[in-house]
Symmetry: C2
Subunit: 333 residues, 2 copies
Amino acid sequence: MSEQDSIAGEDSLIQSYFAPLAAGFAGAFGLGDDCAALSPEPGHDIVLTTDAIAEGVHFRARDLPEDIAWKAVAVNVSDLAAKAARPIGYLLSLAFPQTPDRKWLERFTDGLRAAQERFGIVLMGGDTDRRPNAPLSVTVMAIGSVPSGRMVLRGTARPDDLLYITGTLGDSALGLHLLSDAGLAIASLDRAFLQQRYLRPEPRIGMRDALLARARAAMDISDGLVKDLGRLCRASAVAAEVHAGSVPVSQPAQRLIESEPELRHLPLTGGDDYEILACIAPEHAAAFESAARSAGIPVTRIGSLREGSGVRVLGLDGQPLEIARPGYDHFQR
Amino acid sequence: MSEQDSIAGEDSLIQSYFAPLAAGFAGAFGLGDDCAALSPEPGHDIVLTTDAIAEGVHFRARDLPEDIAWKAVAVNVSDLAAKAARPIGYLLSLAFPQTPDRKWLERFTDGLRAAQERFGIVLMGGDTDRRPNAPLSVTVMAIGSVPSGRMVLRGTARPDDLLYITGTLGDSALGLHLLSDAGLAIASLDRAFLQQRYLRPEPRIGMRDALLARARAAMDISDGLVKDLGRLCRASAVAAEVHAGSVPVSQPAQRLIESEPELRHLPLTGGDDYEILACIAPEHAAAFESAARSAGIPVTRIGSLREGSGVRVLGLDGQPLEIARPGYDHFQR
């Protein structure tokens, strides 16, 4: 990095690149203080979540700075969206292996700005440091708001609930597969669609009203359907039955799986989809579907809950499928 | 690490070691959900801050897990304390270079538990992942509460304010120096005191009432007095004059500086003290001193603010001192 491109110091870096992202929020004090102050909306709870992404684990060294920034924010906003919380803002903790150059910072903050505009949030505060020999890491803490006591939980599903999923599953894992294997034969539009689903996830913030009004329980799918549904079942002490043939798969994903059948499990087990899994009492199913339709978000019924424990995935022949590895885990190989 | 000591997976790690730390807070849902829900106290603002610590930058590879945990929480609580916010809870984002063993996790969570008890906070949520070849990093987001609109800022000091500091400065930087140079001749009690100040910082949460009632502006000193005071001056558009001879130095620090005079600048420029710098209008000085005394916290007047910009440090002869490096900066060497 040339002398000219280097950043004079931590305060100057924050003021030049990050303070403009906080300009819309008085409680950030222009990022010139140690803390942010937020006046909560009366009658509402504050909803808090944190997720970190790091180079080599959650994104690739060659990913574009604007995509890294978007993804760091989006994965957190997705958690809020699944809880029916309105996203308000976020704190950002950045660890750089070396002082970043101006070009990189401009593109990174462009990605943050795009995410802020899409999700209706502001930067509230943060922390920046340099860690030699460490991968770039971006930790976001997102703050949202929900009517008091109304956060939609994982642990409140019941044995008769119907299982719904937004959008399509597997696109992101297939997109990552394509990014790692440029030689696969696939139409360029299909490739672009699937890769974009990995690089620029779109949290389902539009589901808020439908979830708030109709969902008994919900969560976002970040580590794979089977794994995350297993978590919901444990939290709610219920069992789940999913029909593999009902799991919604996009047309580009279908075409890729047809030509590469060994990837066919990815809609069930691939991570990074950031779609919402919702548990709906049967008597609210029609109203939930209608509310999702009003929001312009496709939802698909993929199965139901019952008494017991564990997740059963039924194949087209009605027989349970063996799922070797239900999803991603940082501490298992 | 032996097979027996390894952790079965991310969920089991969270449930076994971290969920007990969230047991006192219903809105954490036993760490079984993606988000925490916090019902704000009516008439109060939520105060948010984040700071990360990483091995090799903010702590040493050989530091004890319980000290690392304490420090990660303490540096964040210190930010809240300086803003007159009551600490409520925290989110924790952990990145491990490898799956931690049970012994390490027990000691780490012991340190978190000790910090929670001392500061009156609970674990609200978090995130855990594994990053091969990365240093251990611990990112905390702390949440506090302050009467609406009453957060004590950096940018609201005025030219006639008196400058006060809690406790003593330089201990922590001297402690770090001792930890890196075991050969220095110093009494063992002095060594233990100074090293402890580095390893187990004690944020000044007891200053809340005094700051809330009397401070025009305040901040905690984490990167060195001269550097942090410079930030306050910039934020408030004022100048500061500090009398070096008035800066409070502990007796162990004095004795070490007498034998190692090249360390004499550390009370002015050393980081990691987590004492509070407060700006007090002259007419409130007596009441501020009395409130701090009631809280059992020593405060010392070290100078005053005036019109202008920049920080002047006056030596015992009344002449300005040259400060080569005012404090710590991650992006300057």
